[in-house]
């Protein structure tokens, strides 16, 4: 039987939205990791915390720009926030993910910017003098905790937004929000590893990569749960996007990074046994395995957003593609 979702129309959320979901995920995840370290970390985690704030701020700004560019009428982006016919009343609907998402992204951007300013001032960047209340103390810790929640929100509401539609794949399983949150955490950890591999304390990098590995396992489980709850809409994966999901996301983006983390010897052995090109290449991969696995996690995270969006976008209204229904 064809699911009822196959009788709806595709919103054409594509080339601005895919990078937005990816970058927004990294931004939210990076802030969340910083918040964890603020609350449960140590003095030597400081540089990661600051890097997380910077990434979150840059990501929130880029994300906002991508969202505006995606609109049919970008100059009316502010209609999302204010009722243009009833100023100054706010446009807010607690049951419309785009509506509360726009506000959530604003709130997240504000907190991330404040945190990044505090961090930049503490590092005496841009000629700023430190303002301690934005860099230590209880007010700051409370703000960071709130920012951590917003981080999760920004990372996950995009998945919820796709589910709160009537489109195939997106609306057929309740797991997308959870899947995007997991992927946000893994891609954010990977970004932090790439950014700070020479600057951060080794213990912090070690924690980041083992956190990343744990998150990847969780992500794989959620991905399986997502596919298992799709019902008849699982059909949508019998095609190119299914291949991308399997090879790009599961194999390259999850399983290989996990192998690099837990079984680095597998890759060493190749390097020794075989002096040929492939051996050298794999030996280098294992020497730089943290970088390699971080890059792969990022590629996998991007392909996850791409595949989830495009698998559904590509599905035409059922009447257009099937001669006789049902």
């Amino acid at each position: 039987m064809i699911p009822d979702t196959y009788f709806s129309a595709a919103p054409d959320w594509t080339w601005w939205i895919v990078p937005y979901f990816f970058i927004g995920g990294i931004a939210g995840g990076a802030y969340f990791i910083s918040a964890l370290l603020v609350w449960f970390g140590r003095a030597e985690d400081r540089p990661v915390i600051h890097a997380g704030f910077y990434i979150a701020t840059i990501g929130a700004v880029i994300g906002g720009i991508l969202l505006i560019l995606d609109l049919g009428r970008p100059e009316r982006f502010w209609h999302m926030l204010f009722l243009n016919q009833d100023l100054p009343r706010l446009a807010f609907k607690s049951y419309s993910p785009i509506s509360f998402g726009a506000w959530g992204l604003m709130g997240f951007g504000a907190i991330a910017t404040a945190s990044a300013l505090g961090a930049a001032a503490a590092e005496r960047r841009f000629g700023l003098r430190p303002f301690p209340w934005l860099n230590r103390g209880p007010f700051w810790k409370a703000l960071v905790a709130l920012g951590g929640f917003f981080g999760f929100f920004v990372a996950g509401y995009t998945g919820v937004l796709l589910t709160v539609t009537n489109r195939p794949v997106w609306a057929d399983s309740p797991m997308l929000g959870m899947l995007f949150i997991a992927s946000a955490a893994s891609t954010a950890a990977a970004t932090l590893i790439l950014v700070g591999r020479r600057r951060f304390h080794t213990a912090t990098i070690e924690w980041l990569s083992s956190f990343d590995a744990a998150v990847l396992v969780f992500e794989l489980l959620v991905l399986i749960a997502f596919l298992a709850t799709l019902g008849a809409a699982i059909d949508a994966w019998l095609g190119w996007w299914g291949a991308v999901l399997l090879v790009g996301v599961v194999l390259a983006g999850i399983l290989v990074p996990l192998a690099l983390h837990w079984r680095p010897r597998w890759f060493d052995a190749y390097g020794r046994r075989d002096a040929g090109r492939r051996g050298v290449w794999l030996a280098r991969l294992s020497a730089e395995r943290k970088v390699a696995s971080a890059v792969l996690v990022l590629v996998g995270g991007f392909l996850l957003r791409l595949a989830v969006i495009m698998a559904s976008e590509g599905i035409e209204h059922a009447r257009l593609v099937r001669e006789t229904l049902p």
Binding site: F7, A9, I33, L36, R42, L71, H79, R136, H317, T324
Partner: protein, 272 residues
Amino acid sequence: MAEAMGFFTDTTICIGCKACEVACKSWNQLPARDGGAPQLTGLSYDNTAKLDGIHWRHVAFIEQFDQPYDGRWLMMSDVCKHCVQAGCLEVCPTGAIIRTEFDTVVIQSDVCNGCRACIAACPFGVIDVNPVAGTAQKCTLCYDRISEGLEPACSKACPTDSIQFGTVAELRERARGRVRQLHADGQEDAYLYGADPDGPLGGLNAFFLLVDDPHVYGLPREPELPSARLAGSSFFGAVGAAVLAILGVVGLRKRRMDELASEPAVPAEGEP
């Protein structure tokens, strides 16, 4: 509020003339697709293909022929259903989509910013972007005409009265009579789609008389509101966030334990 107004579309008497499509496009000044180049869909005599931002009525042609001379041709003029519980209205973040005093659902083009949430939210695939305006558009049930006491352009043009306009209460009454008549005449598969106020979406103000499964006409069997999925997916999102927080905290504690076990000299404590 004035009385709820709507359409009753009796597909059994549609002859596929597409007068409704033409009347709709000319009254609403909707542009042609691809500058009017003919489009072949491979779907019988249908070259409109689907409802979208520049096609607010669409006549579907469904061929059901097992043998030549043995079968039937279903035709249905499709349109926005003006749902009593409208998914498009619910998700629209700008307030562009409103419910009018006629209980119809209208997109205000000067408010819409083209986010396209409504397109994915409509269970029937009714809405799309009008490329001229850059905004989402669909049938307004001729809001401009009915506010002046005129009937909508499509029902006015329909030569067989397959499309009827009126108050929803009266149309339902008339439609039930028509079903009884068809049953008495031997067309026992006739039924109403969307005429039940206790049915999906609180009933559709533009409802249909069909003689086959809704899927055959390209309609969902059990249309749902998108918000029906909000609680479930938010719940799982929150579970995911909790799991990640636990993974993070446990990992950080483990790091401390490992260090305490391996190094007698405890590393410098301090607030990060």
